[in-house]
Symmetry: C2
DNA sequence: ACTTTTATGCAATAATGTTGCATGAATAAA
DNA sequence: TTTATTCATGCAACATTATTGCATAAAAGT
């Protein structure tokens, strides 16, 4: 889904096509890192905080966005891929967080390794966050 | 550090020994899952919210606790191990989050696999969160 | 016991998350 | 293309969490 037309994406998920949703979706598509609600609020002051909040919630439910775990307390969001549906998210990629600029990006190429757990644990999915320095920040 | 005397732990990290710090530390030691600030507030209403907040911050800085990333927006905290110092956290374990009871536990036994990233990424540390069902919740 | 240093509680504020409801916009139906 | 219906939006309001400043109280050093 990553690089299609925003309107097509909305339609295919049974979401009404509105200015806010198009804007948010476009913003995600042109940005190479995860976005927080605050990021959106800064860029789209023409939309209400609550509308942006609900837009994110809707996109999460429909499997358009996924929430990225972060120890900062901020929630941030990234676009999902074709494997995600309203029934559930099915990710196999990992997230890289730069401790310098704070940006989080999804690394689609890199896959999450299988991990063996003791039998008493039933695994549903794995989140992998790698923290370090991104290329942009290594020369600063 | 996991199972030592709270007072000894505080002393060895150059922290004053106070009721609140002892209580919080003891609570972490007797609990098998990660705790949030809310958990502490419920259990220790005799201490101010802000004091508990600052206690957690101090413990983080000193390397007594580590923050566990979570996509729920709640921050939660777990005890560190001997490898952590005020200079940085050095963890090699993963976290299991039960989607049923919500508890997060540190699995010390299980190690985080090495992961190869493209060269432009400089890796500092890896956070691995596995979500699923814990043994207590599988029969419910 | 006294001094110095640091933690605590209280007040206050900011940011974020969340819900209800009236209105307006988007889709479906005629 | 107009009308009816469904749903998104904005506003108000509130809950929760995160955060800082400051006076006081408590801990450690002498």
């Amino acid at each position: 889904m990553n690089h299609k037309d925003p309107i097509a994406i909305l339609r295919s998920h049974n979401l009404r096509v509105t200015d806010c949703r198009i804007a948010v979706l476009q913003h995600f598509m042109k940005t190479d890192h995860a976005l927080s609600q605050g990021d959106l609020e800064e860029n789209y002051s023409e939309f209400d905080r609550v509308t942006l909040y609900r837009t994110l919630q809707n996109f999460l439910e429909k499997g358009i966005l996924h929430r990225i775990p972060d120890d900062s307390g901020f929630a941030s969001y990234g676009l999902c891929f074709e494997t995600c549906t309203p029934d559930g998210h099915h990710h196999d990629h990992l997230h890289f967080k730069c401790s310098d600029c704070g940006h989080i990006q999804c690394l689609e190429q890199t896959h999450v390794p299988k991990i063996k757990l003791p039998k008493q644990f039933q695994v549903d999915h794995i989140d992998l966050i790698i923290e370090g320095t991104c290329s942009d920040c290594q020369h600063a």
